[in-house]
């Protein structure tokens, strides 16, 4: 059965017809059609910058469409601002949470629609009661008196969903809801989505993660560069089918990589102890080594000391005890400058915070580590002509788009930002390349590129240390897999013999018997 037949008998709650949105000359949405059905999950799939968020911001009244019309429950509506959207029962959970950090959960939920006794005095008792009522009804557990800054990201997301439900939302837009969640929280979220649809709510799920769409969605609208590509019934397709529609070509999920004998050990960590920001031991007598020509993957659930380990290696955090060596040289407690000069390169976890200076252009970002060297600087004066030539070279080689070296890093898509970082780091010809969450938030096309780059390093007989929360990525790319749990390596296995269940168990502290 095709999409038409399956949806014939379903009630439409939202119809977006021929929506076009232009920003100047740029067409973000080009006659896109979207129907949302009662009690169903409709996914919105597309690469970064394909126009998914634009379409949803139109539905939520943050942008007004250049042309096209919107019908809610069969009636034509003009959604000029979020208030109108809320009145029509549309709620949106933004990718970057819209929560006031020092406020409590309950305060955030009621903000703008506060229950009051006379004279606008807040009635917090009623607020707490209301919050508890809806949170019980939909199985969204929260502590209404906790402050947002003290609760986990998963719970913050529940607060966002509650905020929409409190306003009587019947249609919930979830913008990249899993981008910030741990695997466990993702499972919980999918359960929440199921509870909500059972109660008759309709969900629009914006995502570029195919797995979740397969798991959670009923239908899927695919858009590419602003254009409406197709709407499919999810149960009648698979990940490959969705992916090729999304990027417009076949995408391989298995990473092509040849067998390769690893060389000598080049990088080692012995008995490393590092403390976190709260002064608690985060890395606990950790031992690890990486050989030439291999990719060592570090698997583990977020918060088991990966960040602190990474910061200790790269000179951003103090090592309490233990040794870090590269090429036999001790680099424990070196400065980042010294670490870089020892031929260690680093693709940081947070590309916007640590990977790039967002308000520098591409060319300036490519020389952040080498700005003082010839030919980029002569007698302390930057040589912009040479820098631009170098940047152009990298842009071509790593296919950064747009091909303008004067473009601000801020204005690049996530995938292209990552390409700039990889270009910079790989061009330093490092002996050890550390890649932390290198594909977080990227779409399949960009992920493919990142993985290729890592494998290329390995094939050039360099060492690669990959840290990722995505088990699939670790298993596809690595040669050996180390599992970290509570700051310790609880097991190292060959990627060839690795099994998901076993690794999953080790990641949860189940040991390696």
């Amino acid at each position: 059965m095709g999409y038409e037949e399956v949806t014939q008998s379903l009630g439409k709650v939202v119809e977006m017809k021929n929506i076009t949105k232009k920003f100047g000359d740029f067409v973000a949405n080009d006659s896109v059609n979207l129907d949302v059905f009662k009690g169903k999950v409709h996914a919105l799939l597309g690469e970064n910058g394909a126009g998914k968020s634009t379409l949803m911001n139109i539905l939520y009244g943050l942008y007004s469409p250049t042309s096209g019309e919107i019908l809610i429950n069969g009636k034509k509506v003009d959604i000029t601002n979020p208030n109108v959207a809320i009145e029509h029962g549309i709620g949106m959970v933004h990718q970057h949470f819209m929560l006031v950090k020092p406020f409590t959960v309950a305060q955030n939920i009621i903000l703008g629609r506060e229950p009051t006794s006379k004279m606008s005095v807040l009635n917090m008792k009623k607020a707490l009661k209301d919050v508890k009522e809806i949170s019980d009804r939909y199985g969204l557990y929260v502590d209404p008196n906790a402050k947002i800054e003290d609760i986990s990201v998963g719970m913050q997301q529940r607060v966002e969903i509650l905020k929409a439900l409190y306003r009587g939302a019947e249609i919930l837009i979830l913008d990249e809801p899993t981008a910030v969640l741990t695997p466990q929280e993702i499972v919980e979220l999918i359960q929440i989505i199921k509870n909500l649809t059972k109660e008759g709510k309709s969900i629009i799920l914006i995502s570029h993660k195919l797995k979740e769409i397969i798991e959670a969605a009923d239908f899927c609208l695919i858009i590419r560069r602003g254009k409406h590509i197709d709407t499919v019934v999810v149960s009648e397709t698979d990940e490959e089918g969705l992916a090729s529609k999304m990027v417009g070509r076949e995408v391989s999920f298995s990473v092509a990589k040849e067998e390769k004998e690893a060389g000598d050990e080049i990088f080692s960590i012995e008995g490393l102890v590092v403390k976190d920001n709260r002064d608690i031991i985060a890395v606990d007598k950790l031992n690890l080594s990486v050989k030439k020509g291999e990719i060592l993957g570090l698997a583990g659930i977020d918060g088991n000391g990966q960040t602190e380990l990474l910061e200790a290696i790269t000179g951003l955090r103090k090592v309490e005890s233990g040794k870090i060596k590269i090429n036999g040289e001790d680099i424990t407690n070196s400065t980042p400058f010294q670490v870089i000069s020892k031929k260690i390169s680093h693709i940081p976890e947070d590309r916007q915070k640590r990977g790039l200076v967002l308000d520098f252009d591409i060319s300036e970002n490519t020389i952040l580590e080498n700005y003082y060297k010839n030919p980029f600087a002569k007698r302390g004066v930057l040589q912009y002509d040479n820098i631009k030539v170098y940047a152009k070279e990298l842009i071509d080689k790593f296919d950064v788009r747009p091909k303008e070296e004067t473009k601000m890093a801020r204005n690049l898509s996530g995938g292209n930002q990552q390409k700039v970082i990889i270009a910079r780091e790989v061009s330093n010809d490092p002996d050890l390349l550390i890649a932390a969450q290198p594909t977080r938030g990227l779409d399949v096309g960009a992920i493919e590129f990142v993985h290729k780059s890592l494998i290329e390093q390995r094939d050039n007989n360099k060492a690669v240390f990959l840290i990722s929360f995505e088990l699939d990525e670790i298993m596809n790319v690595s040669d050996r897999i180390a599992v970290i749990y509570e700051g310790k390596i609880v097991g190292i296995v060959d990627a060839k013999d690795a099994e998901v269940e076993k690794l999953g168990l080790m990641m949860a502290g189940g040991g390696n018997e």
């Binding site: 939520y60 943050l62 601002n81 979020p82 208030n83 809320i86 949106m92 933004h94 970057h96 819209m98 929560l99 006031v100 950090k101 020092p102 406020f103 305060q107 903000l111 703008g112 629609r113 506060e114 009051t116 004279m119 606008s120 005095v121 807040l122 905020k163």
Partner: protein, 316 residues
């Protein structure tokens, strides 16, 4: 002996209350503005204009309350100017504040010359037309309470009431909740249908009103006229008190009392024949301000969006 100590203590407490009062009003103004996300360095200028308008109306009309309210309105107009620049046009809030400081001093001087025969000083208001002293003569002459409260003007008690009022507004009413949300995360407030611009306008205008009150509490109570040196850094001290008080009305109150206390101490010490020049002693409150700011404030607790203009169309 004990009596002397008690009397001296009462004297210091009395001057503390007196000197704190203008700071309390003004720092409450700062609390309102900055919690809505608009930095207000212009408090000093708003205080100056408030002090002048208070003294001028006080002299010509003869009713201290009309003068006090007039001072608030004058400050509020300067607040409106600041809001116009910073909220509507997204101007740099520090620059706008500095401009307002010059403007306040300049306009006060100009008006003074215009209405007081070219003098830079307004004419003195007779004691009967100054702020009333509610507890004057209530306590027996020379008693501890008498020394503290006998000469305190109504503005002192009103200041404490205002702290309570602003605290209640900010933490117990829905508009207070909205005001704070706008200062912390304006985009979040906007997506919930809260009018960020309107709330910021309200907060900045009110901050001018309170700074105006602060100035009038000086010229209508502590002294009885306006002169160009009357407000010399008090607006900045109030701003510092607001920061020291972690952007909270109750915190600002305590900080103002501390600075008032330092001033009281300086006045008290000034009556002795020390081998220290009086100029050094009158530096004391300012030195304490700096020391306290360096030593005790710790991690800043400023509202996250303080000082950042809000643009509706910007992508997030």
């Amino acid at each position: 002996m004990i009596e002397t100590i008690l009397n001296n203590l009462a004297l210091i407490l009395g001057t503390t209350l007196m000197y704190s009062t203008p700071l309390i009003y003004t720092s409450l103004g700062g609390v309102l503005s900055e919690n809505s996300g608009v930095i207000n360095i212009g408090l000093e200028g708003m205080m100056v204009i408030g002090a002048f308008i208070g003294a001028a109306i006080g002299y010509y009309v003869g009713n201290p309350w009309i003068a006090f309210i007039g001072a608030g309105i004058a400050g509020g107009l300067f607040g409106l100017l600041h809001a116009f620049a910073c909220v509507t046009f997204g101007a740099n809030q520090v620059v706008s504040g500095i401009a307002i400081n010059f403007l306040g001093a300049g306009i006060a001087l100009f008006l003074s010359r215009m209405f007081f025969e070219g003098a830079t000083m307004t004419k003195s208001i007779p004691l009967d037309n100054k702020m009333p002293r509610p507890l004057n003569g209530v306590f027996p002459d020379g008693s501890f309470l008498n020394i503290i409260f006998d000469n305190q003007y109504a503005t002192v008690y009103l200041a404490f009431f205002m702290v309570l009022l602003i605290w209640f507004f900010m933490y117990k009413t829905k508009y207070g909740l909205r005001l704070r949300s706008v200062g912390e995360h304006p985009t979040a407030a906007d997506t919930l249908g809260i009018n960020v611009m309107r709330i910021r306008y309200f907060a900045v205008i009110m901050s001018g009103v309170f700074a105006g009150f602060g100035g009038a509490a000086m010229s209508l109570a502590i002294v009885s006229n306006f002169r160009p040196t009357l407000i010399s850094g008090h607006g900045f001290i109030a701003l510092a008190a607001m920061i020291f008080g972690k952007w909270k009305p109750q915190g600002a109150l305590l900080a103002c009392l501390l600075f008032g206390g330092a001033q009281g101490l300086a006045v008290f010490l000034g009556q002795f024949d020390f081998e220290i020049s009086s100029q050094l002693i009158s530096m004391l409150p300012y030195v304490i301000t700096i020391v306290v700011l360096i030593g005790f404030v710790g991690k800043s607790a400023a509202p996250s969006a303080d000082g950042i203009p809000y643009e509706k169309e910007s992508k997030y």
